[in-house]
C-alpha cells in the first residue's frame, strides 16, 4: 500500500469495496483479493485513528498542564 494514501482515500476505497461486494459486482475470483485489500485499509484506518487520537490527546494534555501551571 502506498504510504501517501490518506484516511479519507482509504475510507473511500473501503466503501467502494464494501459496496462492490454488496452489489456482487465482483467475481468470486476477486473476492479474496478485495477483502484482503479492505482488511489492509481497515488496519490502516484503525492505526491512523489511534495515532491521531494519541497525538491529539498529547496536545490537549500539554494544554491542560500548561493551564494548570499558569493558573
Amino acid at each position: 500500500m502506498s504510504k501517501t494514501i490518506t484516511y479519507a482515500e482509504a475510507i473511500e476505497e473501503l466503501e467502494t469495496i464494501v459496496s462492490e461486494i454488496e452489489n456482487a459486482s465482483i467475481g468470486v475470483d476477486e473476492l479474496s483479493e478485495k477483502v484482503k485489500r479492505a482488511a489492509e485499509l481497515i488496519k490502516f484506518c484503525r492505526s491512523k485513528l489511534t495515532a491521531t487520537e494519541r497525538e491529539v490527546g498529547s496536545i490537549l494534555k500539554n494544554l491542560e498542564t500548561e493551564a494548570l501551571e499558569v493558573e
Binding site: 461486494i21 468470486v28 485513528l49 487520537e53 491542560e64
Partner: protein, 467 residues
C-alpha cells in the same frame, strides 16, 4: 270809626270805672274758684325788690300767639312754688317753659285781667321738657346729624383744647389743676372761651363761642364744654335743639363735662365724648397721652428687641451660610477625591471582570477542543467498525449468492442427466453403439442394445410400424 260829637248825649254813657267795676263784679261772681290752666311763660317779669313775679302767659299755635294773659305770683307763693318746681324739674321757673298752674281769674279796675297763680304742677312741666327733649333728639336723628360729632374722630392726643366754660367756674378750675399737675410732665395748651353755662341765655352764649372757635379751628384738637361746682338747676338749655345741633355739627370733637347726676342731656348725647365731670375730662385727656406714651414706649422697647433679634438672626443666617460654605467647599473636594478613587477601583474591578470573562470564553474553546476531536475520532471508529461489519455481512451474502446459483445449476444438470430418465423406467436403445433417433430404420434382425437402469439388454430388431 268816626264819632259824631253831637250824638254823644243821646246815648247812655258809663265811666270806665263803672264798666270795669261791673266786669269785676261779674268775674267775682262767675270765676270765684281757682282753675287749672295750661300755658307757656313768655316772660317771667320777676321783681327781686318786691319778690313778686308777673309772668306773661301765652298759648301759641303754629308759632302764632293765640292767647295772651298776664299773671301774678305773690312773693310768698313764689317761694313755695319755685322750691317745689326746682326740686322736681331741676329747672327754675323761666321764660319759655310750659306750665300747668292753679290760678284765680281776677279782673281789677286798676290792672285789668290777670291770673293769680297759687300753685304750679311741676310734673306737667317735667313731661313737657321730656317731650321737648325727645323732639330735639328726633329732629337731630331725622337730619342724620345725631352721630355726626362722634364720627369726627378723636385725635390721639388732645393737646390743644378750646374750653367753653366760665372763668370762675369750679369745674374749669378743676380741669386746669388736674391737667397741669399731671405727674407725667405732659404739656397741654388750653384756651378759655367764656360763656354762660346754664339757663336760657346759655344756648346763645355757648353757640356764640362755638362759632368763634370754628374760625380758628386749625389751632385746636377738641372743644371742651365744662361746667361744674354749681347747682344742677338750669340744664334744660343742653336739651335745646339749637345748641345740640351746633354741637352735633361741630367740626372738632366736642367733649362735655357738664357735671350732673341726672339724665344725660342731648348735648352730652351728641358730643363726641361725655365725661360728666371736668376732672374726668382731664383724666381722659391725660389717659390719651398716657396711652400714646405707652404706644411710643412699647414701640421703642420692641424696636430695641426686634433690632437686636434681627441682627442676631441675620448674623446667625450669615454664619450658617459661611459654615455651610466652608463645609460644602471641603466636602466637595473630598467627594471628588472619593469619586476619582472609585473610578480607579472600578477600572481595576472591570478589568478583572473583563479578563475573567475572556478566560471563561477561552476555556469554552478548550473544553470544546477536549471533547470534539474525541467525538470525531469516535465517530470515525464507529463508521470503520460498521464497514467491517458490512464487509462480513456482504461477504456471507456474496458467498451464499454464488453458492445458491451453483446449486441451481447443479439441480438443472441433475434433472437432465439420462440416468435419472432410466430410473423412471425409460430405456435407451442403441444400434451399433449409437442411440437410435428419429429416422432409424435398420434391417430386421439387427442386434440392438437396450440400456435400463441396472442392466443392458441385447435384442434382435423385428419390424418397424408407424404409430
Amino acid at each position: 270809626m268816626q264819632t259824631d260829637p253831637s250824638n254823644v248825649v243821646q246815648k247812655q254813657v258809663f265811666s270806665l270805672s263803672e264798666i270795669t267795676e261791673s266786669i269785676a263784679r261779674m268775674f267775682a261772681k262767675y270765676y270765684a274758684s281757682p282753675y287749672w290752666i295750661r300755658a307757656e311763660i313768655s316772660k317771667l317779669n320777676f321783681y327781686p325788690a318786691s319778690g313778686h313775679c308777673f309772668p306773661d302767659l301765652v298759648e301759641k299755635q303754629d308759632g302764632k300767639v293765640k292767647s295772651q294773659v298776664r299773671s301774678i305770683i305773690w312773693r310768698d307763693d313764689l317761694f313755695r312754688i319755685s322750691q317745689k318746681f326746682e326740686e322736681v324739674t331741676r329747672e327754675p321757673l323761666h321764660e319759655g317753659i310750659a306750665i300747668m298752674f292753679q290760678a284765680y281769674v281776677k279782673f281789677t279796675s286798676e290792672h285789668g285781667l290777670s291770673l293769680h297763680i297759687i300753685d304750679i304742677e311741676p310734673l306737667y312741666t317735667l313731661g313737657e321738657m321730656a317731650r321737648a327733649k325727645l323732639e330735639t333728639i328726633g329732629l337731630l336723628k331725622k337730619e342724620g346729624i345725631f352721630q355726626h360729632n362722634k364720627q369726627v374722630g378723636l385725635p390721639l392726643l388732645l393737646k390743644r383744647v378750646a374750653i367753653i366754660s366760665a372763668e370762675t367756674s369750679k369745674g374749669y378750675n378743676d380741669l386746669l389743676v388736674t391737667l397741669n399737675r399731671n405727674p407725667y410732665g405732659y404739656h397741654f395748651i388750653t384756651k378759655l372761651f367764656p360763656a354762660l353755662l346754664q339757663g336760657d341765655a346759655a344756648v346763645e352764649s355757648i353757640r356764640k363761642q362755638l362759632i368763634k372757635i370754628k374760625e380758628v379751628i386749625g389751632q385746636f384738637d377738641a372743644v371742651l364744654i365744662i361746667r361744674g361746682g354749681g347747682d344742677e338747676v338750669g340744664l334744660a338749655c343742653y336739651d335745646h335743639y339749637d345748641l345740640a345741633r351746633e354741637v352735633a355739627l361741630f367740626p372738632l370733637p366736642v367733649i362735655t363735662g357738664i357735671g350732673h347726676s341726672t339724665n344725660e342731656t342731648v348735648v352730652e348725647m351728641v358730643a363726641c365724648i361725655n365725661k360728666i365731670t371736668p376732672t374726668d375730662v382731664a383724666h381722659f385727656m391725660i389717659a390719651g397721652f398716657r396711652s400714646f406714651e405707652d404706644r411710643v414706649q412699647i414701640s421703642t422697647q420692641k424696636l430695641f428687641a426686634e433690632v437686636e433679634k434681627t441682627i442676631e438672626w441675620q448674623t446667625a443666617v450669615f454664619n450658617n451660610l459661611v459654615t455651610g460654605f466652608q463645609q460644602s467647599g471641603r466636602s466637595f473636594v473630598k467627594n471628588e477625591h472619593e469619586t476619582l478613587e472609585q473610578i480607579g477601583l472600578d477600572i481595576r474591578e472591570s478589568v478583572g471582570v473583563a479578563v475573567f470573562n475572556h478566560r471563561i470564553a477561552l476555556s469554552r474553546f478548550e473544553t470544546a477542543l477536549m471533547v470534539h476531536p474525541g467525538q470525531l475520532l469516535g465517530n470515525c471508529r464507529m463508521l470503520l467498525h460498521s464497514q467491517v461489519k458490512m464487509l462480513g455481512f456482504h461477504k456471507t451474502h456474496f458467498i451464499n449468492g454464488h453458492s445458491g446459483a451453483l446449486d441451481g445449476l447443479g439441480e438443472k444438470v441433475q434433472l437432465l442427466d439420462p440416468v435419472n430418465v432410466l430410473k423412471r423406467g425409460f430405456t435407451i436403445t442403441r444400434y451399433k453403439g449409437k442411440a437410435i433417433t428419429f429416422g432409424f430404420d435398420p434391417e430386421p434382425g439387427a442386434i440392438i442394445e437396450t440400456e435400463t437402469v441396472n442392466e443392458k439388454l441385447s435384442s434382435v430388431f423385428a419390424e418397424k410400424k408407424p404409430k
